[in-house]
Symmetry: C2
Subunit: 363 residues, 2 copies
């Protein structure tokens, strides 16, 4: 429609269109090749020419045009980040880590919120095919454009990929995640060291990979503390507040109450605490409740939540670093597991004697 001769930039700027490499070359009285080399490989240009080019660039305010550069070099210096929900703090912290790292390495970040729409996934495949990005970081737990593969046509995503957070089982790409199992085990050991012998477990959704790992960690922790696993202490959940509320009710109603409750998400812990509180059970005096994630609000909850911290920023940084390695032809590690941190606040304390006794009696 409105082609090269009429660009929005020049319409707005004071009449002078943006300087091109030609302008610089003319002003410096060298060829465009020399200008280009002065920028890319200064050591291959004589000091005098370099100086003249530098001056001309300063005078014209020249900035290389990205479209032209990437058309020629087949590199966009852009990375696509695909995530399921941009509004979720969990992801936005990771994003921040990604953005930092990419920016430092000279890459820009394009974000797409998948929003559960398969239609959008299709668009994304086209996006990558159009050469808009050099690589992608996936936070959504699965690949996309996968289906085309079977039709024998083009590969699903032929650019370098890295997955963060939720492992993608069969994908042969670098994966960055936290060590859920060790994190959960550490929390159980902490509770055991406080003196708890009956530790309840509020689970995540059945089949979820995070849930599986955290549950393993729970059992590891019990074993390490010499405690027997008791299936009655497992309460099903799904990481939501409502599940936490329900878990709290289950604890209040149930006989043979645990002295500590390990909720596998902070949000469930907060829901559980609320229910317990309205049933007259004080946390941590009457029962300890701990979470997982260390969301923003964990520190501010009442009582401040003892939880397992996920290094989200570092997760993003590690993922971005791995991708950059890939993009620059280096080798990236297959799998990076970041350590979690136990954050001790005040929602867990030693069980009271009476609690121990009653637990002992009921056992």
């Amino acid at each position: 429609m409105d082609g090269g001769g009429r660009r929005s930039r020049s319409e707005r700027a004071a009449g002078s269109r943006a300087a091109t490499i030609q302008d610089v070359a003319r002003l410096a009285e060298v060829s465009t090749a020399t200008v280009s080399r002065a920028l890319a490989t200064p050591q291959r240009v004589s000091p005098e020419a370099r100086a003249r080019v530098a001056e001309a660039i300063a005078k014209t305010g020249y900035v290389p045009n990205t479209a032209a550069r990437s058309l020629r070099s087949q590199k966009t210096h852009m990375v696509l980040v695909v995530l399921p929900d941009l509004a979720n703090t969990f992801f936005s912290k990771i994003l921040r880590g990604i953005e930092e790292t990419l920016f430092e390495a000279g890459y820009g970040m394009i974000i797409s919120d998948l929003d559960g729409s398969p239609e959008k996934e299709a668009h994304l495949s086209a996006f990558t095919a159009a050469g808009r990005v050099d690589g992608a970081i996936l936070l959504n737990g699965h690949l996309f454009g996968q289906n085309r593969d079977e039709e024998g046509g083009s590969a699903p995503l032929s650019i370098p990929l890295v997955a963060i957070c939720e492992a993608i089982p069969d994908a042969r790409i670098p994966q960055v995640e936290i060590d859920n199992r060790v994190g959960a085990a550490g929390m159980i050991r902490h509770l055991a060291s406080l003196g708890h012998r009956r530790i309840g477990y509020v689970s995540g959704p059945r089949g979820n990979i995070l849930e599986r790992e955290r549950f393993q960690g729970y059992r590891d922790g019990l074993a390490a503390a010499g405690l027997a696993f008791d299936p009655d202490l497992v309460i099903p959940g799904d990481y939501t507040l409502e599940a936490g509320v329900a878990a709290g009710e289950a604890v209040v109603r149930g006989a043979n109450r645990p002295t500590a409750l390990f909720c596998t998400s902070d949000v469930m812990a907060i829901g559980a605490i609320r229910t317990l509180a309205s049933a007259g059970l004080r946390v941590p005096e009457d029962i300890s409740v701990v979470g997982f994630d260390d969301i923003e609000f964990a520190a501010v909850a009442e009582p401040p939540l003892t939880t397992v911290h996920q290094p989200r920023r570092e997760l993003g940084q590690a993922g971005a670093t791995a991708l950059i390695d890939l993009l620059q032809g280096r080798k990236a590690p297959d799998r990076i597991r970041l350590k979690t941190d136990l954050v001790v606040r005040s929602s867990a304390a030693a069980p009271r004697r009476t609690m121990l006794k009653s637990a002992g009696l009921n056992a």
Copy 2:
């Protein structure tokens, strides 16, 4: 370094490099011009040619190369979003609204977290100058690259801009914000209608534009309810949890206690409630506390917070829509003010008789 003949895409894909418009033209036995027209202006191409092109595109999996397209058309179909803190939920909700709207209109979103670094701002100016984006949305409350203007050189940012959230006073660009004043006034009227006569105000940082508007709204609301403004009821704050805690302490210590406390951020309200609770004051039975923002956690706090909801997603949508209008040559409104919503939960209730009486006695 590694030029046109050797592209990362083709290295990874099964040997066949990505199809170009030439490939499609050859296969469809038409010229590249016809292919281009078949895509851009189908009505200008005969039905037979159109069909052949469509078939060839399907067969080759052709997707137009973005770099080539934007080099020629001087349009990137990319929008830059600049914000102060990506990890802040407040912004990420807005981002989501922006992303949705941009995506639907065929634009991609590049995000930059300014992170308070002026150095990064300089990079951003170069970014826009390099023609990487067609326009930008600013969430950071000020322009950037501004300084260069005075040196008589190139204009600061010569691309279409829109500001969201915090108004940028002197900038002559479309601004999208919420109506802080009306929102605050509505909350005061709500409290007054519950029967409160002594309504405390916990402020934002001095000089902040949001603070100024909310304070005006507070006074409007008092006036509308026929209540006199009492400077003693104003407690300085800065939107942080600590400020809320401090405000709670001030209320506990102070004589002539208000029956309701309007905190100009939810975070402050949560801090205040915590302090009040540990001093033995129940919310809302002994004192009502309300907030502003309707952050994620407001609904889940104990008690659930009565607050002023900011339509963050809509804010993003409106901003993106305005920018798209600008980019497509339409006119965008100078200033959009979105209405807030009063969200009544349970942290505010009618004052008890004794509270009223004591207030009356002390006055």
